[in-house]
């Protein structure tokens, strides 16, 4: 089942009046349950593409269909709703709210969905247990290592059962062993829960473990 489809995507940034062609004519279909890595050199347009696929930005031309809905035409508010209900995000860093503990950070996503306090706690604990990060529950981000923070970020990204998780270089700040553990976790969630993952990376380990690899170069997909 197709979950995401990009049609003739073009993104042109204006950099002080100079147009920058970040993406040129991208066509892409991603099915439910896929585990996709977008690779490519710096400046090739990975982040730009993820932002468009994740309803964080609008293309200059072309269309993005999410679950067969054209999201390029939607209002800011609706996009925010789609992100909240259907998508999970993991960024390179600064994912967590610094004043909240790990469990509170995970609860935060559920709070936004209006899930009651008690249910939130239970579900967050359950998930942390499943991901093997239960002992981090009451730690604040500054009391956790980068890898621990990213694992909590994964938990937050998947706690609302999104159909799709987008991660922009989630391992960029981690050493290779820690990065490996994070990848284990995401693969586990992909196979156990059938959550679709798309991430960008130029980390060799990540690329090697990709189930599907998309290589970007100068805003175009090279391996199609």
């Amino acid at each position: 089942m197709e979950i995401l489809k990009a049609e003739n995507l073009v993104k042109i940034y204006q950099d002080n009046g100079v147009p920058v062609n970040a993406l040129m004519d991208i066509n892409l279909t991603i099915s439910k349950g896929e585990y996709v890595v977008i690779a490519g050199p710096s400046g090739s347009g990975k982040t730009t593409l993820l932002n468009l696929l994740g309803a964080l930005d609008k293309p200059t031309k072309g269309k993005v269909y999410f679950e067969t809905e054209n999201i390029t035409l939607k209002e800011k508010k609706e996009l925010s709703k789609i992100r909240l209900h259907k998508l999970g995000f993991i960024f390179q860093a600064y994912n967590l709210i610094p004043v909240l503990t790990a469990i509170e950070n995970i609860e935060f996503s559920m709070m936004l969905l209006g899930i009651p306090d008690k249910v939130r706690k239970e579900k967050a604990l359950e998930l942390m247990d499943e991901l093997g990060i239960k002992e981090l529950a009451n730690k604040r981000p500054n009391e956790m290592s980068g890898g621990q923070q990213q694992r909590v970020a994964v938990a937050r990204a998947i706690v609302n059962n999104p159909s799709l998780v987008l991660a922009d270089e989630p391992t960029a700040n981690l050493d290779s062993v820690t990065a490996g553990h994070l990848l284990d976790l995401m693969e586990q969630m992909n196979s156990e829960k059938n959550i679709t993952f798309i991430f960008s990376s130029h980390d060799k380990q990540v690329i090697d473990r990709a189930k599907r690899l998309i290589i970007l170069k100068d805003g175009r997909i090279e391996n199609q």
Partner: protein
């Protein structure tokens, strides 16, 4: 959870939050203390002035205020009496007559403002009877005795104990003419008044002026300045007489009212400046705290936090600080005002003289009037809400990506 988040966010940058808090506390305390002393001193002076002569309220014939003459008079009927006796807050009342006349002693003649009063009643309503300057006051039922203004006595070249002749046109138009004995003098500190003032018994005045049992004014003492409106309403509804007006001190002493209004406006203006300064302080700190967190805000917006909820969070943070500041400010303000009620500031000699001319007490006193605390708190709350508007608007307009990219 939003509240918890807001609370923790406040303590993230302790120094900044404490500065904001201090600004709110400072503004609240300053405003409460200043307003307290201002309003407290007004009340003190209003009481001092109205208790000297005018009374808190007066019942007057409807034209008397504009045209104080014998014809603007009325009879104190049983309805008025009942109303005065049954209205809560009326401490006592004193009937008066006022007429113009001419006073002569030997070859000297002067214009006179004649007041017919009942000293025994006045004692419960006003203080001027006790403030006799020389001699003594007559009693209510004594005939042909008068007390005159100190300056009038000098102008006439007379002494206490001398006999004078009073000439006045009566209610019926005939000219009354009678001998009186000066038994004392009063001094109010207002030259103009003292060079014409004559007090005599109410009955004497009524017979000199052929007034029958009519009076011009009934001066009323009330138990509290804050009850005047209520008392006025009650009396009006009980008396229900279109020939009669009930006026409170501010209508009877418009100059005093105006002086207070003027001073009050300058006080409020000063407070306005104070509050605007605090507003800019809050605006500045909130804006900084918001801009610092753009990246964090970008992430929560990206994961789907509604823009409004995030804006709301910024408001909660400021409101929490403001609220704590107001609670502390009100407590300190209350303590300060309470202190200045127990220990009024006594003015120095020079100011004292100036104050005494106006029959103000040479003191600055405070008050615990609830409206001060309420108004100050409300103003600061409003201004703090207002100064949040711009930072909150920036958050409302923040794009998730702009936030994430913000460095």
């Amino acid at each position: 959870m939003l509240l918890k988040l807001a609370w923790r966010n406040i303590w993230r940058n302790k120094r900044r939050s404490l500065i904001t808090l201090a600004a709110v506390v400072f503004a609240a305390v300053m405003a409460i203390a200043m307003r307290g002393i201002q309003l407290g001193t007004y009340a003190l002076n209003i009481r001092s002035v109205v208790e000297l002569f005018s009374g808190y309220l007066q019942i007057q014939e409807k034209n008397y205020l504009d045209n104080p003459s014998l014809t603007s008079s009325f009879i104190i009927d049983s309805k008025i009496l009942d109303a005065l006796k049954s209205t809560k807050g009326v401490v006592d009342y004193a009937p008066r007559i006022y007429a113009d006349g001419l006073i002569s002693y030997k070859d000297n003649s002067r214009g006179a403002a004649i007041f017919g009063i009942e000293p025994e009643k006045e004692k419960n309503v006003t203080t001027f009877v006790q403030n006799i300057n020389s001699g003594k006051f007559f009693t209510s039922d004594s005939s042909n005795q008068i007390v005159v203004g100190d300056q009038l006595l000098k102008n006439l070249d007379a002494k206490v104990g001398d006999e004078i002749v009073l000439l006045a046109q009566g209610y019926d138009g005939t000219l009354g003419n009678q001998k009186f004995k000066i038994v004392g003098t009063v001094k109010f500190g207002v030259q103009e008044l003292e060079s014409a003032l004559i007090f005599m018994g109410l009955k004497s005045a009524q017979s000199l002026l052929a007034m029958g049992s009519k009076v011009n004014v009934v001066a009323i003492k009330a138990d509290d300045l804050n009850h005047l409106e209520e008392i006025n309403d009650q009396l009006s509804s009980k008396i229900r007489n279109s020939n009669i007006k009930i006026l409170s001190w501010d209508k009877i002493n418009p100059e005093l009212e105006q002086a207070i209004q003027l001073d009050n406006v300058s006080g409020i203006f000063f407070l306005g400046i104070l509050i605007v300064i605090v507003a800019f302080g809050i605006l500045n700190t909130v804006l900084m705290s918001v801009i610092e967190r753009f990246r964090e805000f970008g992430v929560v917006l990206a994961i789907g936090m509604p823009q409004v909820t995030l804006t709301y969070l910024v408001y909660i943070e400021t409101m929490l600080i403001t609220f704590i500041g107001l609670v502390a400010g009100n407590i300190f303000g209350y303590a300060i005002n309470y202190y200045f009620i127990l220990h009024p500031i006594i003015l120095g000699e020079e100011l004292k003289k100036l104050y005494e001319i106006y029959h103000f007490l040479p003191q600055l006193k405070s008050t615990l009037q609830v409206s001060i605390f309420f108004n100050v708190s409300l103003s600061i709350l409003a201004i703090s809400l207002a100064s949040c508007f711009y930072p909150a608007y920036k958050v409302y307009k923040l794009e998730p990506l702009k936030g994430i990219r913000h460095t």
